[in-house]
Amino acid sequence: MKRALFVAVGTIAGLTATLRYTPENPLLTAGTDLALGGTQTLGGTQSVAPVTQSSPAVPAVAASKSAVGTPTKTKASPNVVGSKNKKPKLVTTKSATPKATPKKTVKPAPGPTKTVKPTPTPSKTVKPTPTVTATPTPQVLTATGAGALAGGYGTVQVRIQVSNGRMTSITPLSWPTGGTSSAISSYSIPLLIDAALKSQSSRVATISGASYTSAAFRSTLASAMAQAGL
């Protein structure tokens, strides 16, 4: 149980890190580095923040992230998004087809791209004091925490799946609210698709924007009807 708690904290901190990392620096102009920046944001949530050093589980995850090849934390000064700073920031990344782009950002393996988000202001870290609210199976935790995240975000609830002591997925059940949200992040399409397809495989219940005539909509229909016996 204790370990579960730690994992929960780690995840929320990870979320925080993501939130904090909003590449708003207008100096970020096109280029390969940017594509990498995008990649990292993509891997953002992995960055299990250092808040929970004490946890045995967390460092393991963090370590796997920062593994080799980590294409530099494009830390082009990832500014903290101040809560007052309402102006949406545009960072347009022309997806410089990255040969440096380590595809398959998805496995915990030495897969690069799981970069640790630079947490430029460690002081702003969360203390969500999470409470494990549900343990449907010993390995699925739901953690809730209200913390002073960078930018003044509020309550966060995530579901964490743990396998052999390591997080295998983080599913948000509620989003943080109340902070600034209109900073833009950019990704090169191929990278994101990896992640999307992965989650598509099992869990996507329905599809937005799939017009009536499209194959995507037909498959939505089919899955809507794919009931026992049909």
């Binding site: 939130l19 944001t41 993509l42 891997g43 953002g44 949530t45 992995q46 995850v61 309402k86 102006k87 949406p88 545009l90 347009t92 997806s95 998805v106 449907p136 579901r159 983080i170 599913t171 948000p172 059940l173 989003w175 943080p176 902070g179 949200s181 209109s182 900073a183 833009i184 992040s185 950019s186 990704y187 090169s188 399409i189 994101l192 698709i193 992640a195 999307a196 598509q200 869990r203 996507v204 219940a205 329905t206 599809i207 937005s208 924007g209 799939a210 017009s211 009536y212 499209s214 194959a215 995507a216 909509f217 939505t220 229909l221 809507a224 009807m225 794919a226 009931q227 016996g229 049909l230």
Partner: protein, 268 residues
């Protein structure tokens, strides 16, 4: 009468599912509820909620001559003679027109005012709430691509939704979780929608697709279309809406903002 069908089954997690498909608006709307145990009146509840979709058609169809909106468009009536619900929708549309600096403008459409860029998402919300009122808390509506979700899709799991890939109608390009919120996507692939750029008066669009997530399906629907027209500059409209999120695709890049897409790639 209308074509509809009803199906039931189980999810992988053992929850009961019930799905109602309704032929309406020249397309199909999917109404789905899930629960550990569904009440026995689920079929009636979904059928009743689906009736609202036809009511919406009776009010807002621009393809029929016998609707109030057609009377308005043809100049046989003016706005203050419309049923109250239409007036309310038009008021919303006017506010969104102002918010978007005219990028969303139902009055700029050739042929007269046409609020259908708002109505589909709005109707999805109403139907979802009607079903919740009948006691089913886990609801997903897919109104031909406009989504409105309530509750969960599985134990401890909010509804996971995909975004159609604008260049490949068999793929999804992103996904997120809808937490009692709605999602609308507009894409240049929607030939049938005849999206007109009110500024250039032509079909010029600045994105390949635009997806908006937020607590109001009608607004999401309208803003998705407006973003498609304007492009990234439209993100400024969301300054005062920190709960809203967007997922924008141009020829080679995805741009996101807002909490719903901050977790991209969270799958470790």
């Amino acid at each position: 009468m209308s074509n509809s069908s009803f199906h039931t089954g189980l999810t992988d997690e053992g929850w009961q599912r019930a799905v109602h498909l309704e032929d309406v608006w020249g397309t199909v709307v999917i109404l789905e509820v899930r629960s550990k145990e569904l009440a026995s009146d689920v079929e009636n509840a979904l059928a009743d909620a689906a009736k609202f979709l036809h009511q919406v058609d009776d009010w807002f169809s621009t393809y029929r001559i016998d609707t109030p909106i057609s009377a308005l468009r043809m100049g046989f009536a003016d706005e203050n003679q419309m049923p109250e619900v239409i007036q309310r929708v038009l008021e919303q549309c006017a506010q969104i027109r102002d918010l978007t600096g005219g990028a969303f403008d139902p009055w700029a459409v050739p042929g007269g005012v046409d609020p259908s860029g708002y109505v589909k998402g709005w109707a999805a919300d109403v139907v979802a709430d009607l079903i919740v009122e009948r006691g089913f808390e886990n609801v997903s509506i897919n109104a031909a691509g406009d989504l409105s979700c309530r509750g969960l899709q599985a134990p401890d799991q909010a509804w996971v939704v995909g975004i159609r890939h604008p260049f490949d109608d068999q793929a999804i390009i992103g996904s997120t979780v809808l937490l009692n919120t709605s999602m609308a996507t507009s894409g240049e692939y929607e030939r049938g929608k005849h999206i007109i750029n009110p500024f250039t008066k032509d079909r010029h669009l600045n994105l390949a697709s635009a997806t908006v997530v937020g607590p109001d399906g009608g607004l999401a629907d309208a803003l998705a279309t407006a973003l498609l027209i304007v492009g990234l500059d439209g993100v400024q409209w969301f300054q005062e809406f920190p709960d809203w999120s967007g997922f924008l695709v141009d020829s080679e890049t995805i741009h996101t903002f807002g909490p719903a897409f901050m977790n991209l790639g969270a799958e470790l």
